[in-house]
Symmetry: C2
Subunit: 936 residues, 2 copies
């Protein structure tokens, strides 16, 4: 007994699947990777899957931690699995007569399509090829498989591949030479003899370039392939992808070794990929593509343009019907949209992969919505299926239909491709990823135009507005990645004739239109249209309904789904959602998006408005209180008017107004010409203005004379601003509306600062009530944005009625890191995972979060009713919203277009907590029951 328990405690490195039973299951993704776990699940569901086994991702972690060595027991476990595989398949690895061939594929916890390496047809050598010929009766197929295997092995394992973009693939080079010699154009025109010669020439190329012989022993091939797949976890494109998708390096990849089935064994073989629903728009149709007589990589790589799945009915009706059945079985089992890969070998269907399908935001919303209608999932599950950031895509602009029509009428249409990534994009043409990054960095909008994209291009795709490719289908690399990123994409646009060298393209049949690098084009990812020139875009359907009000909700199906999802979200979320807005129109937009108040109204933005910068500068240049007050008196009615507009727009919702924050020199021109003009305007000597600007110069303005420090030294500024707010409130109240102003004092590090400013505000409030006879409610609170404010929050809360975390500045001070100056090292820091995410994008929960949590606890100890929010840019970041929920904030405030995202994020974290609580309860009960049973 004892020894058995010990045995089962031993770490297991290899999980077998096949013969109607698998050792793994779908919920073992962390260990087996997505591919391995789902293969196991399908085997256990009784679906047709070629047998195989999975080496766990623990081995990967071990491998990198131990200087590229494997755990001691791995070899024996692999050999045992291989024996079982031989038995189940009735074939033998390395056997000359009946050789077992395998594929070796990566498979990590999160899907990383095309980022890591794969090897097919492994097990072939000059002896086993004979068995394959005998078995398949197809010498051409056998040699074609063999030469493909050698090339793949050379590329992946022996690193014999093009080193730069301009290099030609060394194996392609040999093929091209062969075709030239034979006077043929296409690969399939090569004769069996040609293929045989290629095998020899490929091996020679390996020997010459790599200095080693191609390994003839299948076991050597296998271990070489396993190591190469592990190594591909650390290739540059995988690293970039992980960074973009926030996948931790520690996860590692599993390796799947599976018996080969061949889609390229002849015309009754084939291979394909499919989505159980439309991944682009979410429609409930079986959506896929296939190629007969092809290997799977041919479909995904986008080299041949595949056929629509419906066409399979014509080629192989039995397999097509079986696929439709499997689609239903899988959706019912997984209760989600799936992405599957299949191969038909000699008329028999095999499932090679299934996984939860990637989808556009549109599709995510529609599928989630539809599945609720179909009774497949509950609303709260639907919410958990939509990533908050995906909503971004719903709000992106589309083409203005009138403008587009006009453009089309003027002959702007160049060609049409596949509508691979919905949305409208317009930008300057660039022809490679590096340029896309560089041009975007200097503020240009660009469209990345490629013959086809490869994983090396993902950083460039991320920088572009849209992607246009000449080759590849709806499931090609370009299409998949673009949808995931929420990028507009038109793919497989075969008429494009792209010349990378001269950096231009034209469309077959329209040679007179040459589009050069830097020219504007417009692409419609929803229709596949490609147009020359810049076609104006317009708001999305959701925006048209909510903001511009140019669309009736009942004519906007996407909007209706959006609205339903938002309604569900509002039901579950606990956090309030406010917005950062300084102008009435921003405020009403935000309300349309669901904002429940303004969390940050920056008054200094107002000072740049028309007619305001003059008196503002006059105020700053004044050298005594009297002159300053004279200038402030000019600003008062202007500010009051601004506040009236905002209060009306917010219509009874609370409005947090922050008193002036930036250093005064920001309002003055720093160049001589500007100073001269200001001097003339205000009737001062240019010298005096220059002197004043120099006097106001600061070494570290971020830590200088700003925030409440201004109000401490110039209390008359605070007084003017408070008066403008309260007089505006009175005027709007007089119109019968409700107004809830909340005056927020910035940069408080010491309760005495707040006390000083609060007294000014309260005395002005009392005066205004007295003068106007109108009573109003208001609050006085503070930004928490320097560490000392957070540390002394207990004291600060004695005066503050509310806190709002200014996480931009709090991040800068806590990390001692100026956002404006971090460019020289912060990207490198994020790359090296010193910080997993840019701390200005997502709250640094360890550092800044510590202070936030402390402030919440200390503040509420002093004042249990303390209202606490966040108004830094992090307020619209889903991870940060979750953190704010966890530490008990009352609300988050973000820019208007992030409001829907924050609403969803808030709902999701509330639901996650609920689920976790339920699970904990269940676990507790189970533990209890177990104990009870044991006692019995």
């Amino acid at each position: 007994m004892m020894s058995k328990e010990k045995k089962s405690d031993k770490i297991k490195y290899v999980y077998y699947f096949g013969g109607n039973h698998a050792e793994g299951s779908a919920d073992m993704k962390n260990l087996l990777g997505g591919k391995g776990a789902n293969l196991a699940e399908m085997v256990n569901m009784g679906l047709p899957v070629p047998a195989g086994f999975t080496i766990t991702s623990d081995v990967c972690t071990y491998y990198f931690k131990n200087n590229n060595e494997y755990p001691a027991m791995l070899k024996r476990e692999v050999e045992k699995a291989l024996e079982k595989l031989e038995k189940d398949m009735g074939m033998k690895f390395g056997d000359n007569n009946n050789p077992l061939l395998v594929s070796v594929r990566s498979g990590s916890r999160a899907s990383m399509p095309g980022m890591m390496d794969t090897i097919l047809n492994l097990g072939l050598n000059d002896d086993t090829i004979k068995g394959l010929i005998a078995k398949s009766g197809n010498e051409r197929f056998a040699y074609d498989s063999y030469r493909r295997f050698i090339a793949m092995y050379g590329d992946v394992v022996l690193d014999l591949k093009p080193k730069t973009k301009d290099d030609i693939d060394p194996f392609e080079e040999i093929i091209e030479a062969k075709k030239a010699k034979r006077g043929i154009k296409l690969d399939f025109e090569l004769s069996v003899q040609d293929l045989k010669e290629l095998v020899v020439e490929f091996k020679a190329a390996i020997k010459k370039n790599c200095g080693v012989d191609f390994p003839e022993d299948p076991k050597d091939q296998l271990w070489g392939a396993i190591a190469a797949v592990f190594a591909s976890w650390q290739n540059p494109r995988a690293i970039v992808y992980r960074k973009l998708n926030r996948i931790p390096e520690e996860w590692g990849t599993a390796v799947n070794i599976q018996a080969m089935v061949f889609g390229n064994m002849g015309e009754n073989s084939g291979t394909g990929v499919a989505f159980t629903r439309d991944a682009a728009n979410g429609d409930n149709i079986f959506y896929g593509e296939f190629l007969m007589n092809a290997q799977g990589e041919d479909v995904v790589a986008g080299i041949r343009t595949p056929l629509k799945i419906e066409k399979l009915k014509e080629s192989d009706e039995k397999s097509y019907n079986q696929l439709l059945d499997i689609r239903n079985i899988l959706e019912k089992h997984y209760r989600d949209m799936l992405d599957v890969e299949f191969t038909i070998q000699d008329g028999k269907l095999y499932m090679l992969q299934c996984r939860i399908g990637k989808r556009t935001a549109m599709a995510a919303v529609k599928i989630a919505y539809d599945m609720v209608q179909e009774g497949m999932i509950k609303p709260k599950e639907a919410l958990m299926r939509i990533e908050p950031d995906q909503l971004n895509q719903l709000l992106r602009p589309v083409f203005d239909l009138k403008e587009k029509k006009k453009a089309l009428e003027n002959g702007a249409l160049l060609t049409k491709g596949l509508n691979a990534g919905p949305g409208a994009a317009c930008g300057k043409v660039v022809f490679n990823g590096e340029d896309a990054i560089a041009w975007a960095a200097r503020g240009e909008k660009v469209i990345l135009v490629r013959i086809e994209t490869s994983p090396e291009d993902i950083a460039g795709m991320n920088a572009a507005e849209g992607i246009l490719t000449a080759r590849g289908g709806m499931t090609s690399h370009a299409a998949l990645v673009a949808r995931q990123m929420g990028k507009v994409c038109v793919a497989g646009c075969g008429a494009l004739n792209i010349d990378y060298k001269t950096r231009q393209f034209y469309v077959e049949g329209k040679k007179d239109v040459i589009v050069k690098e830097g020219d504007f084009i417009s692409i419609d990812g929803s229709t596949g249209e490609v147009m020359v020139g810049a076609v104006p875009t317009k708001p999305s359907e959701v925006v048209e309904v909510l903001i511009s009000k140019t669309l009736d909700p009942k004519d906007a199906p996407i909007y209706q789904m959006y609205a339903q999802i938002m309604q569900w979200a509002d039901k579950y979320r606990k956090l309030g959602i406010r917005t950062n807005a300084d102008q009435p129109n921003q405020a009403s937009n935000a309300v349309a998006f669901g904002a429940e108040g303004i969390g940050l109204c920056r008054t200094e933005h107002m000072f740049f408005g028309e007619g305001k910068i003059g008196p503002m500068r006059e105020m700053i240049l004044a050298d005594n209180v009297a002159d300053r007050e004279k200038a402030l008196a000019k600003l008062l009615p202007l500010q009051r008017k601004d506040f009236e507009g905002i209060f009306e727009a917010m219509d009874g919702r609370p409005v947090t107004v922050r008193t002036i924050d930036p250093p005064l020199h920001e309002f003055l021109p720093h160049d001589l010409a500007g100073q001269t003009s200001v001097a003339t305007e205000l009737g001062l000597a240019q010298k005096d203005v220059k002197e004043r600007v120099e006097l106001l110069h600061e070494f570290n303005p971020m830590l200088g004379f700003r925030g409440c420090r201004l109000g401490m030294i110039y209390p008359e500024i605070t007084a003017m601003q408070a008066r403008a707010v309260f007089e505006a409130a009175v005027n709007v109240i007089k119109k019968g509306k409700v107004v809830k102003p909340e005056i927020m004092i910035p940069l408080v590090g010491n309760v005495k600062e707040l006390k000083h400013q609060e007294q000014i505000v309260r005395s002005i409030a009392a005066k205004v009530m007295d003068e106007t006879g109108v009573k109003f409610e208001y609050m006085v609170g503070t930004m928490i944005e320097v560490p000392r404010g957070a540390i002394t929050a207990g004291e600060v809360a004695e005066v503050a009625e509310f806190f709002s975390f200014g996480t931009n500045d709090l991040t800068q001070t806590t990390l001692g890191l100026s956002r404006d100056d971090a460019g020289r090292f912060l990207p490198e820091y994020v790359k090296r995972e010193v910080y997993k995410v840019d701390p200005f994008v997502s709250v640094d929960q360890t550092g800044v979060g510590f202070l936030m949590q402390h402030a919440v606890e200390a503040g509420r100890t002093t004042r249990p009713s303390l209202k606490i929010g966040i108004c830094g840019e992090h307020g619209g970041d889903p991870e940060s919203v979750e953190f704010c929920h966890k530490i008990g904030l009352n609300y988050v405030s973000c820019s208007p277009f992030r409001v829907p995202i924050a609403r969803l994020a808030a709902a999701r974290i509330a639901l996650s907590e609920k689920i976790a609580r339920k699970q904990a309860k269940k676990d507790k009960k189970e533990k209890k029951d177990k104990k009870k049973n044991k006692k019995k």
Copy 2:
């Protein structure tokens, strides 16, 4: 029983003293103020003290909190006390025949000499004057007292006083007019009739200027005076004084009402002040001054130059002997040097005040040392008697005797005054406090020259190197305040003829030498000499023995005492004391002052050294690793040599070396000329240098690309510095010395930064050991100087073997406050007590201290052996040293000249804690005993 207890619980506002019993005692200073408490103590000791009563400082606090109203019970208590006073004195307040006259004086917990107001002779009016004449038989004395009282009352209570420096006192103006009319020059030449007329004219002036009648009712006079004394707690000079001496505003002042005794009743009356030992040098002699036929204020105000106390023997031997007895009684009772005030009325001696005497640092050391030798106090008590900052004065320069002799031979001596504040000072002459402040602010050393100083001058005195006055004795305002501040002072220099208007002075008899504003003079506060020109100063005796080694300890009595005190301090202190030093000579100075190691060796200072800035700039301007390494290779031997020098100087003591910290642009010239010269030097285009400088420009360099961020991006810099340190260590070890390098990585906010840099350092260490075959010990640690470093200290300590708090930067980041830019608001913040002390001078214990304490706890939880120090400038501030002790640091590190101060501060806090523990134990025991007794 019940009601009696209730009664005793009632707050008591008035404490009576007189008739051999007082309700108060010396230990009730907080409530009664220093003066009131010590008057009570002297009464209880049986010393001759005029009876009176004290209104507690609680009343003052109540008064300011309650809109200048008194507690309800105060009036009755004062009246009761007044009745008792009348009974004890056998006189009646406001009585026409036998009028009781009183003085009304302030008296706070801490001595604030001359800062608040006093009124004498209160109770006089047109009726009671008759009784005074009758009793004294001296009509001239009575009217002189009356006119003085009216003037004082007008000044203090009715605010009839000169409003600017240039105004004449309105009462003085009337006197001057009177004297002019009479054709006389001196006050005492005025006839009785003149004095009578003055009384009438003074009252008329009050009526005219203040719009009120002079109050004839003594009770009205009394309450007016009480209010005025309370109000004087808030006068500007009291506020400045509190700020300078860190006296909290909340303490408030008590008011003492005491029966008048008259030192001006005739030639057998007099008044004086004395120290029981010499307050300037600490000699064990009775040291005082007196004036016959004068009131006390005449001595202190410095208007008449008084006589040495020994002369009293000639005027009144009985009183003199009685004083000598009282001196001994008081010193034995208080076990300290005391400062007393006395009055002789008609041959009878009265004590009016006694308090612990202020003393120079010299005197503090000598008295403490002597009292230990005399068996009066223990060494640990001696330590508690010396304020750490006082030691500063012992280290200040004195004149170079040779140079001074030469100057004197060349006729530099202008005149001699009283040696009121020891030390040597040399600077430019200014004639008022404002100028002293302004000139000092721009870096000038100034000597403040005044006819006499007044409390308004203290801020100016604080800014000056030294103070020279024409009038006033050793206990004049100038002398007292200067000594307390540790300023050099020559007082009562009667030959000076100062003209404020033309801003110049000359010395009587040397009219050819006109000293103008801005001219250099030198004053010797130990001899009283005043010299024209700048006489070079030289190190103090302590410095001469320890540093320059030009003096034998046995010829240096002050040094010997200093050494003894330091020895005692070292016995009690728990904190280690290190120094901040970058150069071998700084290091050995610090060792001479007792430093036990270097806590901060800033390597960047070294780069400015000869031959180093060139390669440094080359390194910065390099645009690739190879060029950078080439430049670094040039720096390596230079840095190594620097470290060798420091290691040799520290001779086995630990040396903490910080890797490069400041932003690189600090090493490049920002002006065109400088850039051109650098370009020429390095063979680069000027344009390129300019471009590079602009590229390196930062908005907030404090939060920019600096500290470990440099080493993260340019690891080769860290590698070079580590190599320089370790190779230097090896070279010095080879000479047979011990070397303990500690590499400190700056600006760490994330353990991954430290880990990265640590690996470089450790790999270089291993290489150097390998290359040289010499083993050495070393540590790797970090500065904690951004909040995130402190917050994540638990993680940081996984890598760091030591922490050192960089409290300069930690203060800047925690408060969000750039020291370079705080000038526009921080002084105002300190003035308004937003921060009680400048947080860059003394650690902000609430904010920064919170993070420090957290870091200590978290760091030690991870690594119990973690060594923790502080190397910010706060390391030499006594209050900060105490804080560091309390939170459990291992050491403080400060500049070499602050080392003795830190040693003493460390001893004092250790002793304070011991005393507090003892007291707590005692309290516990008493409580227990009480409980026991109760049970019985």
